[in-house]
């Protein structure tokens, strides 16, 4: 009678084991550090919640309709900020995207420089940029536009460069072989391949920017965020309820439309 046995287990290399143990220990250390560092006064927090709950939560669900007019104009301003900002970014990101694409520049140094610029821009949160621009141009909606424009350029440039790197270079080569000049290659070889995805990403970024621009007002850069911070400071939770409702509705509608358009483009 033959005996059946399980196939031999793959050999574990010692290096991998050490790596795994190190990572595990690091994670444990991270959590120890975290839980030692954070101390929350649970008693006080609990007390506050008990005191505040009925003052906040029910009011959020009974919006103050008398502020509808103000909220409408604020949210419209938010949409304008997001639109102007993301369109600016969509254009600003094109040269940066080409710069960071390996197959377009052909030089490692330029590509690395482009990638570094883009990730440096991405590391700034939108709100921090808004703070800087509020100091520069004053507390108005245009500071928001600039913050959104710069903030979105980082992400769009990265996505663009990935699109450019993934194009079919055979077409470009064939055109080169047929004697097309650089501009012709750009217009007839590269652009038709990248435009749908560029548009799709730009619209996607617009979606994100609607969310981002709705909070810029917290630092004075216009839009509905201004109303949010006033409502919070005045403990006017009814108005906050209306603002929340407006944000939810606008974001949902724009997400829906943009998803539709993007599906059509790509």
């Amino acid at each position: 009678m033959t005996t059946y046995s399980l196939p031999p287990k793959p050999k574990k290399s010692r290096f991998k084991m050490i790596k795994k143990v190190t990572i595990f220990l690091l994670i444990i250390a991270m959590y120890v550090w975290t839980f030692l560092g954070i101390n929350i006064d649970w008693g006080r927090a609990f007390e506050r919640v008990v005191n505040n709950f009925h003052r906040v939560i029910p009011k959020l669900f009974s919006p103050d309709w008398s502020a509808t007019n103000d909220v409408f104009w604020s949210i419209l301003e938010t949409i304008f900020i997001a639109f102007a900002g993301s369109l600016m970014a969509a254009i600003l990101a094109i040269p940066l995207g080409f710069l960071a694409a390996q197959n377009m520049t052909g030089s490692k140094i330029l590509t690395t420089a482009g990638k570094w610029i883009l990730s440096a821009v991405r590391a700034f949160p939108d709100i921090i940029l808004a703070i800087l621009f509020v100091v520069a141009v004053g507390p108005n909606a245009f500071a928001g536009v600039l913050a959104i424009a710069i903030g979105s350029t980082g992400m769009l440039g990265k996505l663009y460069s990935e699109v450019i790197e993934s194009i079919d270079m055979d077409v470009v080569e064939a055109m080169e072989a047929n004697g097309a000049n650089k501009i012709q290659i750009l217009f007839y070889g590269v652009m038709p391949q990248i435009i749908p995805e560029f548009l799709s990403y730009a619209i996607y970024r617009f979606e994100i920017d609607i969310r981002a621009s709705s909070i810029l007002g917290i630092v004075g850069a216009g839009g509905i965020g201004t109303m949010i911070i006033f409502a919070a400071n005045n403990r006017n939770w009814n108005e906050m309820g209306l603002i929340l409702l407006a944000i939810i509705i606008v974001v949902t509608i724009i997400d829906f439309i943009s998803a539709r358009i993007r599906r059509k483009i790509v």
Binding site: T34, G37, A120, P125, A136, N140, A141, A232
Partner: protein, 271 residues
């Protein structure tokens, strides 16, 4: 376009794009351009001095913010560490709670349709609320401190994570699971040897991605009183102490870049 003076081409070459598409695109282009110009005008209506003045002001700003006062850095390291800790706790909590939520909003697992639709809708609504707005509400509930910040990050990241992971679960190859069931594996065996290996790499990668988002969000939560470095930044801006503010901003920048770099390397190693 190049002129066709080839004797072989008798007919006019057909246009690359049909006329209808061309008019459509032109109209869309002008609508977008018009809306853009209007937006630019509308958002600049309150600006003193217009665009040119603003550009001139940039120089003044750089003078105000520079040189950053790097002497404050040791003093603000505490709040910065707290900010990172906030993000860690929120991400961990969201990771744990996202598993049941993601299972409930995955179409191939939650076969009970109303439940699936309910969780999906809830998550969609949750995702539309910006993190800072959540923080504002939680600060109203709990008062100023770290707890509202952690809760805001937690709720916000839960929405993103549950959506991403439910999509991963939906794209799982169900055949191995079925095969295992057919050869007599019990439910736990199916989950651990069939489902988990397919989902785990994506899952970890998404968790790291959400951790990055949380780090970036947590540094600004303090602006509305939800603890961390943002609180210090807000104070310094309130005092118009721009060199200190710039030092804090640079610190935030460095921390975000370092954490993103580590998390990127980890993600590359995983997938």
């Amino acid at each position: 376009m190049t002129k066709q003076n080839n004797s072989l081409s008798l007919k006019k070459t057909p246009p690359i794009y049909p006329v209808k598409t061309k008019t459509q695109i032109t109209i869309i282009f002008f609508v977008i351009l018009g809306f853009y110009l209007f937006s630019m005008m509308y958002t600049q209506r309150e600006m003193v001095g217009g665009f040119g003045n603003a550009l001139g002001n940039m120089g003044v700003v750089i003078e105000k913010f520079f040189p950053p006062n790097l002497k404050v850095l040791p003093a603000v390291w505490g709040p910065m560490a707290q900010t990172i800790q906030m993000a860690i706790i929120a991400t961990t909590a969201a990771t744990i709670l996202t598993i049941p939520l993601a299972l409930l909003s995955a179409q191939n697992i939650a076969t009970f349709k109303p439940l699936y639709v309910f969780t999906r809708t809830l998550l969609n609504i949750l995702r539309t609320i910006p993190d800072l707005v959540l923080a504002v509400i939680f600060v109203g509930l709990f008062g100023i401190g770290l707890l509202p910040g952690i809760l805001a990050l937690f709720i916000f990241s839960l929405g993103i994570l549950a959506k991403l992971i439910s999509e991963t679960i939906e794209s799982v190859d169900m055949n191995p699971l079925e095969a295992m069931r057919a050869s007599g594996a019990n439910v736990y065996q199916v989950i651990f040897f069939g489902l988990v290996p397919q989902v785990l790499p994506q899952f970890t990668s998404f968790v790291l991605y959400v951790f990055e988002i949380n780090i970036r969000a947590s540094v600004v939560l303090g602006l509305v009183g939800a603890g961390g470095i943002g609180l210090v930044l807000d104070q310094q801006l309130g005092f118009y102490n721009y060199p200190n503010a710039m030092a804090i901003i640079i610190m935030i920048f460095v921390v975000v870049i370092v954490i993103e770099y580590i998390s990127n390397k980890l993600r590359e190693a995983l997938i």
